[in-house]
């Protein structure tokens, strides 16, 4: 039997990350219109560090790696700029996820608290009839608190403050990346799809999924955790 590569894999039981999955949590307070840019800045910064060039396997197990380009992105609603990988596909995928998160936040009520998670995982093939297992190895959670501001002056201050906060977040992210902790081993050609997302044409991020939760005022997760496998939504 043939299992298409992009089959949804079942998550390990429970929403908690597996034992050896490191988890990082970042918190930001932003104004409604800043949510998208703030999320994109963080997600792109993480993915910049977690993407490589495309692998090209050759004979005898050698491979060459493509080149990752980067570009500066200026935020419109925040005094902030960040660097992202030059890949329109990746940018679109992140924007889609962040857009949904923002919409969910907005429609959830005035409280405006939620979190968006970026999880890197490896696939472990299981024998039929069991579907493949997804083993997360790194989980980034961004907790968002949406604030409402009364006037233009407050908004201006918020632009600057959120900009400064995001600078701190970028520094935090880089600190984590610098620890050089567990990373999946470089795979052989047959294993590459268990480690990397090879569906993009110009870069190759580690396999990842983005999910989010909206919290109600009681701090519990009300809406069902909507797990979206971005690859699936993009898959035709």
């Amino acid at each position: 039997l043939f299992f298409p590569r992009r089959t949804c894999c079942r998550a390990p039981p429970g929403a908690a990350p597996a034992m050896n999955c490191r988890a990082e949590v970042l918190e930001v307070s932003v104004e409604g219109r800043q949510v998208e840019e703030a999320m994109l800045a963080v997600l792109h910064t993480v993915l910049l560090h977690r993407s490589t060039g495309k692998f090209h396997y050759k004979k005898e197990g050698t491979y060459s790696i493509g080149t990752v380009g980067t570009q500066d992105v200026d935020c419109d609603f925040i005094d902030f700029a960040y660097v992202r990988v030059s890949s329109e596909e990746l940018d679109r995928a992140l924007r889609k996820a962040v857009g949904e998160f923002k919409d969910a936040l907005r429609s959830s009520g005035s409280d405006g608290m939620g979190q968006i998670s970026l999880e890197f995982y490896q696939k472990k093939k299981s024998r039929w009839p069991f579907s493949d297992e997804c083993i997360p190895w790194e989980l980034w959670t961004i907790k968002v608190n949406v604030v409402n501001l009364a006037n233009e002056q407050e908004r201006q201050i918020c632009r600057e403050k959120v900009g400064e906060k995001l600078c701190e977040k970028i520094i935090n992210i880089v600190e984590v990346m610098n620890r050089h902790e567990y990373l999946p081993k470089m795979p052989t050609q047959s294993e590459v799809d268990n480690v990397f997302d090879t569906s993009l044409k110009d870069v190759q991020p580690y396999l990842y999924k983005i999910s989010y939760q909206i919290t109600d005022s009681l701090g519990t997760s009300v809406t069902t955790t909507m797990r979206r496998l971005i690859k699936d939504t993009l898959a035709l």
Binding site: K54, G66, M186
Partner: protein, 550 residues
């Protein structure tokens, strides 16, 4: 370093990685302070020239400066590579903003695989550097540079000097990579009391007389690092054998790009001209006696933002050719066109260009060459002297170079010692009789004026810089000071750069404007039938004339 534990191939590879890592680090930092958004493309097929699998362009001058600072060494304990970023205002005040330090400490990681893990971690560290360079306060300042201030860089090698950052400076660590010979660390110390530097507090001042580097405007980059594809062996064993990669030493002094058509060309030469330089308005070949070389520009242009000197309107209308003091332009200024306004670029020369061109001096130069009229500080004559060493022959050799300039017809500035030989050019008699020496030329030693302190005069290369100067070689260079017609020194004590900038973009000729063009075209068309009638009448005469020609 315990060399015995590291295979010689690994050691070679490691040294190469560290060297190119240092060069790329400098590129990332400097490019992040140019004031522009950077964008490079991803490429799924390895091009073989992108170190660390990242598309980081190489600005040749920057590479050159970095190599000069490193002088063949690698960062080691006590020998750090530092990139100092500072700000200089239009009043001439300057302030250090950041020092980026690439250091090596003694903590070795013997187990780590050089060709594989170290390489990938260096790549990760460069990505971190890309991210961190956007979050220190100097980034936002550098994006707004232009009129009121400019951002400068300086590279030095040796001990880290943080004293210029003021009290309470903060440090951010970009990352570390352990290697068998030590741990590479990359960090940034940055000034925090920038409150008074908030750009909102700057008043609108006249543009400063400074040198602005516009690195990314329509110019193809020369092929950068000549690396070959890094083929990795994947697999469990990780006994990666790194295929040998040629270490091409000279990366930066390669091809040069062309100029925008409106720029003028220039040349530099030795002091043996015998006839006046030309004053024509179009391309001409000027044979020169002596050593001539051109500074070709690669990827940076220097442009001046002249102070508003109240010079008359731009109806003088012609760009002035400049004879750059071809000294090593040390374009330590990293400014892109400020947001406030376009600064028209003017040609400049990178220091390394001269070195590369030494060998080419004797050949006729085709294409357009640029040279910067950059004020030099005395330390900057290093490449000048280098260039002069590459003599192509005795001063009596006749060399040709191509001038493309537009200069007024009545230039009459006396030129002391240099003249051009055998110029077959119109208006030659109006040409200046000799060429001023470099030291007298205001471009080389710009006059001090309140707003016009050249940023290069600041000690960009001074204290602690290992790029030592090799003395002045003014004798080998001359500055041809072309005085535009209708301008007089005494009335307008402005230097060439200002003038050039002021008049670089003359108003469009009225005959070229659409309305008038259309009008005259209409008139032309209307008069055609008449003209045709006349010609028809005289057709016999015309035929007879044609017969005589055959």
């Amino acid at each position: 370093a315990m060399d015995t534990d590291l295979s010689s191939q690994d050691r070679k590879d490691l040294d190469k990685f560290i060297k190119f890592f240092a060069l790329k680090t400098v590129q990332v930092i400097v490019q992040a302070r140019l004031g522009e958004k950077i964008c490079t493309r991803s490429s799924s097929s390895p091009t073989g020239s992108d170190w660390f699998n990242l598309a980081i362009k190489d600005i040749p001058e920057v590479t050159h400066e970095a190599k000069k600072a490193l002088a063949g060494q690698l960062p080691a304990v006590g020998r750090s590579m530092c990139v100092e970023i500072s700000l200089k205002t239009s009043e001439g005040d300057s302030m250090e903003l950041e020092i980026w330090c690439l250091e090596m400490n003694e903590k070795c990681d013997k187990e780590i695989k050089v060709s594989y893990t170290v390489y990938n971690r260096l790549s990760l560290l460069l990505k971190s550097l890309l991210a961190i360079t956007r979050v220190t306060p100097a980034y936002r300042l550098s994006r707004k540079q232009g009129h009121e201030y400019v951002i400068l860089y300086r590279i030095y090698f040796g001990e880290v000097q943080l004293s210029g950052l003021g009290e309470g400076f903060q440090t951010v660590r970009v990352g570390t990579v352990g290697t068998p010979v030590g741990t590479i660390t990359l960090s940034c110390a940055y000034r925090i009391n920038l409150a008074f530097m908030s750009t909102r507090q700057f008043e609108r001042t006249p543009p400063i007389m400074g040198i602005i580097i516009d690195h990314f405007v329509d110019r193809p980059y020369p092929s950068s690092s000549p690396m070959h594809p890094c083929n990795y062996r994947a697999g469990e064993d990780n006994g990666a054998v790194y295929p040998s990669v040629e270490d091409s030493q000279e990366v930066c002094t390669t091809s040069f790009s062309t100029s925008p058509p409106s720029q003028c060309v220039f040349t530099v030469t030795k002091t043996h001209f015998q006839t006046p330089p030309p004053v024509v308005t179009d391309t001409l070949k000027v044979p020169l006696m002596g050593l001539a070389f051109s500074h070709q520009l690669s990827s940076s242009r220097l442009s001046y933002q002249p102070a508003a000197l109240g010079v008359g309107s731009a109806d003088m209308g012609y760009p002035v050719l400049f004879a750059g003091g071809l000294n090593a332009a040390h374009p330590h200024q990293l400014i892109g066109p400020g947001k406030e306004g376009g600064v028209p670029p003017i040609p400049s020369q990178p220091a390394h260009g001269t070195q590369a061109d030494q060998e080419r001096m004797c050949t006729p130069l085709d294409g357009v060459h640029y040279s910067a009229a950059t004020p030099s500080s005395s330390e900057d004559t290093e490449t000048v002297s280098n260039s002069s060493e590459g003599k192509c022959g005795s001063p009596h050799d006749l060399l040709e170079t191509i001038f493309i300039r537009k200069v007024g017809a009545f230039v009459n500035k006396p030129i002391n010692q240099v003249t051009m030989a055998n110029l077959d050019i119109p208006f030659a008699m109006f040409a200046p009789k000799n060429v001023e020496l470099e030291d007298n030329d205001p471009m080389v030693n710009p006059p001090d004026s309140p707003e016009t302190e050249s940023p290069l005069q600041g000690s960009l290369h001074s204290e602690g810089s290992s790029g030592s100067s090799t003395g002045n070689t003014h004798d080998d260079f001359v500055m041809i000071d072309f005085k535009p017609a209708f301008s007089k020194d005494d009335i307008l004590p402005m230097d060439l750069g200002t003038f050039y900038r002021e008049f670089q973009n003359p108003p469009q000729l009225s005959s070229l404007s659409i309305d008038i063009g259309a009008q005259s075209m209409a008139e032309d068309l209307d008069s055609l039938p008449e003209k045709l009638a006349v010609h028809e009448k005289n057709v016999k005469e015309f035929d007879a004339f044609v017969e005589t020609l055959q």
